[in-house]
């Protein structure tokens, strides 16, 4: 069990070059939203904290999607 756990860190996982690889941004955005709200909220109440983290996470995700769409559009226009 322990050996298998350590072995997981000795070789990289496979990540392709398709759109699925973009999903790896979500854990990162979640971590950024959680730590940012942890440091910025004056008083940490769980319900309010979770609500604000979800709002920030949704905002970041929305902005990233918008950036993806715009950049793909620019690439498509430049290459077509």
């Amino acid at each position: 069990m322990m050996t298998a756990l350590l072995a997981a860190f000795t070789s990289p996982i496979h990540i392709g070059t398709d759109w699925v690889s973009m999903l790896w941004m979500f854990p990162l955005l979640a971590a950024i939203a959680i730590v940012y709200k942890t440091t910025k909220m004056r008083v940490l109440f769980w319900r309010r904290f979770i609500r604000e983290v979800l709002i920030l996470f949704a905002t970041l995700s929305g902005f990233m999607f918008a950036a993806i769409v715009v950049l793909n559009l620019v690439t498509w226009l430049a290459t077509s």
Binding site: P12, S21, P27, L28, A31, I32, V35, R42, V43, F45
Partner: protein, 138 residues
């Protein structure tokens, strides 16, 4: 004389809070009795760093061939990264392509988020903010 000693003690306390926050993510907040923040920060920063290592393997800890600021970013997570890097250098680990990029991004962001937490812990200690008492809203 007492005022000077108090001032020196206070600066020393701030330094200890900052150092503790670097050594163990969240420990700085624990020292100023912000237990909830400490647990959240520790789990998130360490979790993000470990996820980065899982994605790119120990090979993402490569201070020789990567730029110095990348390793500096990783080192901000905790000084233990230095020991882990030393261990990784003795192994024959290799990573390239997307896993290398994503693994590096995860580990660097973990370090930078911990830098934010270090400064926040020192600031909260400086302003004298400990745990505030209140009720959770419905």
């Amino acid at each position: 004389m007492k005022a000077i000693r108090d001032s020196v003690d206070f600066v020393l306390f701030l330094a200890i809070v900052g150092l503790a926050a670097w050594v163990i993510p969240g420990a700085g907040h624990l020292l100023i009795r912000e237990n909830k923040r400490a647990v959240i920060i520790c789990m998130t920063v360490v979790g993000l760093f470990v996820t980065g290592l899982y994605i790119g393997s120990l090979a993402v800890l490569e201070p020789v061939q990567t730029a110095w600021y990348i390793f500096a970013g990783q080192m901000l997570t905790t000084p233990a990264v230095g020991m882990l890097t030393d261990y990784a250098q003795k192994g024959d680990y290799f990573v390239a392509g997307r896993p290398a990029d994503i693994g590096l991004i995860y580990t660097i962001i973990a370090g930078l988020l911990n830098l934010l937490c270090i400064s926040n812990a020192v600031y909260m200690a400086y302003t004298g903010r400990g745990r505030l008492i209140g009720e959770d809203d419905a």
